[in-house]
């Protein structure tokens, strides 16, 4: 305890002397970065855990893509459980001249079984808990739909063949996915009104839910009873597995934001190395004196270890506090991915933050602290004696292992973590090598420069190690900024430019067979060449070569989804225009037999080969057909395309609906309102509107990523400060000499600006090259887009870097200029 209080007193004295501030700042920022992500994901995680039944609107939901058999509900009620029904599907809603695609949800009397519906009289006015559901003949709209339809209370909307009166604004709905998952706004109506709308027809994509709630034991027993009875396309969602889409998104957000946050940890490690090395250099004498005064080696090490541990704990706690504030920003950007109020976070992220802070601090400072204990006491008499000085990569093995552990932990996946570690390692190495090369080039160039600049450039070359660290750290920050701000826009434009000007911008789905001719007539009547209408039958893959397909046989997540859901199957005599055969032959004219053409990507995912016989179930019937060719499809073309196309004669007997895509200039957008009025069951999807929604979501997500990288930037400045601090004594001395030799304050300032602006310039250059490389990789390897080189990246990156770092550097060194030269020279002699 005595040692502890001595260490505490020593820490207080060191702090007062300003020796430890930069270390503390680095840790505070790094921990704030990690915990802001940690707190946020913890809150969403807790919302999922604590309010799972509210998020589900029930204790158990039986979800199906077809109407559920009655006996599930009868059995649930027999067991004393409460039940409710919902069904949801996308459809057009009309109000006067306005039409809008909405997500319709129809609910039965007891809905919701858990949580509550909240309504208001006007958008954005105070809401109250509702006592029931919309009365028959009425509808509640969310504020988005309210605005889009220019609706008002009592307005009459057309939903399919029926008319509903607007009776309230829906402000909260327990089992609604958050805005991140909702492309279309919501209309809530009474389930009794559904038949009159005539909207549920062949080919409609409807999600049916039977909600169940009651005593825990009874619900569990019911679940056990239901589970073995489930057929394909039916699944259970309970409290523990509620909202898989949010869970998946949360886990992804946790991983990627977490990894982004870790970049600041890695930079913090660099700061710790720089700052502790300086700390050690300045404490060699102190330790020699302490040893002379009777301190044993062990005691010295222990005292510094306790000091650093205390510093780490304090700084991490402050970091956690800032992280707590920071998570509010994330919650504001991304919190809407869950529809309920987020609960307060747990204390777990604090533990995570402290662990991260301590691993970073101790892992990278121990080698230096070890050195301090080896300072010979004789140094008090012979100043040239220092510690033996063996540290290198091996000394930092603990720190590197700790950081690797943190990355792997955050990635939750050895492979992803490995990629990140290797990628980051390579990026830092390449950045550092490039920086070193540029610094060498500068040494040649500087002979031609003016005196102040020559002095500044000489400083960069002389402190090459520190300069490389600064350039690398800043280039990482600038690169991320360039990627998020410039390259993202470039990629978006590049993708848009690959679309022909007349690429379809509207999809029309749910066209019934008896509407095919009238619809063609409608287009003719408006002098528009009728688009091709593709027949569509929904079927489920049951077996491949007679072997029933089971999800467990496919390790791939995408394969699971493909098998679980119904496929859209079509038939055609011709190979579609923009498709390309990659294997087998297209069927000839007449006498086809039952043949199938499969898209190559899905064939690969499901392991389907040429010549395989596939068995599909459509409604209650089944059919078999052989795969005779594989196709390549350009999905970006925005045309209607199918994974599986059958030869004529296979599917015609099954109930089908039709689908089409067309290009309509914006000026003729009104035509579709007319079309929906004439054929109320049709659903029109406006690609531009969907793209806008997607863009909004991307903006929110990238806003969150930018926020996390803000910490990386702050860390860059901490490194700059650490570098300035590390060289401060030297700078003060040099400035004094230059002042004595007659240099003006202006000249000194110019020299300093030259040094830092050039560091910024180099960082910008490295960053622009890195961003271009990443953008090239993203567009050609991942997004399959033609690479468009943006020549602005270089000037933008370099100018921004030079300006920001030049100014920050001057600010950090300003006090150097105010030191009276005589005092400085006397002090150092």
């Amino acid at each position: 305890m005595n040692r502890f209080s001595l260490a505490l007193r020593m820490l207080r004295r060191e702090w007062r002397a300003g020796e430890l501030r930069v270390l503390a700042a680095a840790l505070v920022i790094a921990v704030a970065s990690v915990t802001s992500v940690g707190f946020f994901t913890d809150r969403v995680g807790r919302a999922l855990a604590q309010q799972a039944n509210i998020l589900l609107g029930a204790d158990l939901a039986l979800i199906s893509d077809h109407p559920l058999d009655n006996y599930f509900e009868i059995e649930a009620q027999r067991r004393g459980l409460r039940t409710a029904h919902t069904l949801s599907f996308p459809s057009m809603v009309l109000h006067g001249e306005r039409t809008q695609l909405a997500e319709i949800k129809a609910v039965s009397r007891n809905y919701p079984l858990r949580g509550e519906l909240r309504v208001a009289q006007q958008p954005f006015s105070p809401d109250i808990a509702s006592k029931g559901i919309p009365e028959s003949g009425t509808a509640w709209l969310d504020d988005r739909l309210f605005k889009q339809l220019d609706a008002f209370a009592t307005a009459r909307l057309e939903v399919g063949a029926s008319r509903l009166a607007v009776s309230a604004v829906l402000t909260q709905e327990p089992d609604r996915a958050g805005v991140l998952f909702n492309i279309a706004p919501r209309l809530l109506m009474n389930i009794q009104d559904i038949p009159a709308t005539g909207l549920i027809q062949e080919g409609s994509r409807v999600s049916y839910r039977l909600l169940v709630a009651g005593e825990v034991g009874k619900v569990d027993l019911f679940r056990t009873w239901v589970a073995p009875l489930l057929k394909r396309g039916e699944r259970l969602e309970g409290v523990s597995d509620a909202r898989p889409e949010i869970r998946a998104a949360l886990s992804r957000a946790e991983r990627f934001l977490g990894l982004a946050a870790l970049t600041s940890i890695i930079l913090a490690a660099v700061t710790v190395v720089m700052a502790t090395r300086r700390f050690m250099a300045r404490h060699l004498d102190n330790c020699a004196v302490m040893r002379c005064l009777g301190a044993q080696q062990r005691l010295i090490f222990k005292l510094y270890l306790i000091q650093f541990s205390l510093l780490g704990t304090f700084a991490s706690l402050i970091g956690c506090l800032l992280g707590y504030i920071g998570q509010m920003v994330l919650a504001q950007r991304l919190g809407s991915m869950v529809a309920v109020e987020l609960p307060l976070p747990s204390m777990l992220p604090v533990a995570q933050g402290i662990l991260t802070g301590m691993v970073t601090l101790l892992g990278f400072s121990l080698p230096f602290l070890q050195q301090l204990k080896h300072v010979p006491a004789l140094r008090v008499l012979r100043r040239e004696l220092g510690p033996p000085g063996h540290y290198g990569l091996i000394g930092f093995a603990l720190g590197l292992a700790g950081i690797s552990g943190l990355v792997l932990w955050q990635a939750e996946d050895a492979k992803l973590g490995g990629y990140v570690l290797v990628g980051l390692g390579v990026a830092i190495l390449v950045g550092a090598l490039l920086a070193l090369l540029l610094i060498r080039v500068l040494s040649v160039v500087r002979r031609q420069a003016a005196a102040s600049w020559r002095y500044g450039l000489a400083n960069i070359a002389r402190r090459a190690g520190g300069s490389v660290a600064q350039v690398t750290a800043f280039s990482l920050g600038i690169m991320v900024l360039l990627l998020l701000v410039v390259v993202r826009g470039d990629l978006m434009r590049s993708w848009q430019s690959t679309l022909p000007a007349d690429a379809p911008n509207r999809f029309v789905i749910n066209i019934q067979p008896d509407q095919v001719q009238p619809l063609r007539g409608f287009f003719h009547g408006h002098q528009i060449h009728p688009p091709v209408l593709y027949p569509m039958v929904r079927g489920r893959l049951l077996a491949v070569n007679g072997n029933p397909v089971a999800t467990r046989e496919y390790p791939d997540e995408r394969a699971h989804r493909l098998i679980e859901r119904e496929f859209n199957l079509s038939w055609s005599e011709q190979l579609p225009d923009d498709n390309q055969l990659v294997a087998g032959k297209w069927w000839g004219q007449g006498g086809y037999g039952a043949q199938l053409s499969v898209e190559e990507g899905i064939a690969r995912t499901l392991g389907i080969k040429l010549g395989d016989e596939l068995t599909y179930g459509v409604g209650g019937a089944i059919f078999n057909a052989r795969v005779v060719n594989l196709r390549k499809v350009n999905w970006d073309s925005f045309r209607v395309n199918f994974f599986v196309i059958a030869s004529p004669g296979v599917l015609e007997t099954f109930p089908a609906s039709y689908v089409t895509s067309l290009h309509l200039p914006d000026a003729r957008g009104g035509l579709l309102d007319e079309m929906v009025k004439a054929f109320p069951n049709l659903t029109v999807i406006d690609v531009a509107a969907v793209m806008n929604e997607v863009r909004t979501i991307m903006d929110r997500v990238s806003g969150a990523v930018e926020f996390v990288f803000l910490f990386t930037w702050l860390m860059g400045f901490t490194i700059l400060y650490a570098a300035i601090a590390a060289t401060r004594d030297e700078r003060v001395f040099e400035a004094a000499i230059l002042r004595t030799l007659g240099a003006s304050r202006r000249q000194l300032l110019a020299g300093l600006f030259a040094e830092f602006a050039v560091i910024g310039l180099l960082a910008g250059l490295v960053a622009a090259l890195g961003a271009s490389g990443t953008s090239y990789f993203l567009s050609t390897r991942i997004l399959m887009l033609p690479y468009v080189c943006n020549f602005w990246l270089l000037p933008i990156g370099m100018l921004a870097g030079a300006a920001a770092i030049g100014i920050a550097g001057i600010a950090g060194c300003y006090s150097v200029l105010n030191q009276p030269p005589l005092q400085t020279i006397r002090d150092s002699s």
Partner: protein, 221 residues
């Protein structure tokens, strides 16, 4: 304090170089001894060995009857903490600590309770009670050396080793420092071994030894 056949030899450019050659000498409690010698005569090496800061090539040093070099590095440090005080030419104060904290340091390291009160009293004895909260950089050279003296005496050492204590001071200040050193030495009954090349200072010691080419030559012998 007793040194027996104390030898220090180093290798310089491949050839052995003897710095201290079979040195025998002792100092009784309360005695003050000056060690004089030209630069490079081995004065500082001797001081380092007497304090156990460096290891000899041969011979031993007995401190309070304990063989210094039979102990390990940490054992010697512990013994130093208990028995030895230092005053250096360059003061060796810790720049991040105030005057009072510098005086407290050896007591704190030894785990002594009430270090603050004792150190305050020690600073008062050297006339610096008013400057207890000043940092070394805010003190003059003479004041810094007085703090160092207060620190050296704060642990009540049996042996005080002083290495050119006035080397960095002007003569008037140096004079006052030496007065203080001898006064405290007398009060505490400490053995003082003072290394210097200042004859006037050496004159104030009870005994003077000359170090010449690694051998101790008593004065007037």
């Amino acid at each position: 304090m007793q040194a027996i056949a104390l030898t220090k030899q180093v290798t310089s450019e491949g050839a052995p170089l003897i710095i201290l050659d079979q040195l025998d000498f002792s100092a009784s409690p309360g005695e003050s001894v000056a060690v004089l010698g030209a630069s490079g005569s081995g004065k500082s090496t001797l001081l380092g060995l007497l304090a156990g800061l460096d290891a000899p090539t041969g011979g031993k040093v007995l401190l309070d009857g304990i063989d210094l070099f039979a102990l390990d590095e940490d054992g010697r440090a512990a013994l130093r903490g208990r028995l030895v005080g230092f005053v250096f030419q360059s003061f060796q104060l810790l720049p991040s600590l105030t005057a009072l904290e510098n005086v407290m340091l050896p007591l704190e390291l030894a785990g002594v309770n009430g270090a603050r009160i004792e150190s305050g009293a020690a600073l008062e004895r050297v006339g610096l009670a008013q400057r207890a909260s000043h940092y070394p950089r805010q003190l003059s050279g003479g004041e810094q050396q007085r703090v160092a003296i207060a620190r050296a005496f704060s642990v009540n050492p049996r042996l005080l080793l002083a290495d050119e204590p006035t080397g960095n001071l002007d003569s008037a200040t140096g004079e006052r420092i030496i007065d203080l050193l001898f006064q405290l030495n007398k009060e505490h009954g400490t053995t003082l071994i003072l290394v210097t090349h200042d004859e006037r200072l050496a004159q104030r010691c009870q005994r003077r030894l000359h170090l010449d080419k690694g051998v101790l030559v008593p004065e007037y012998l």
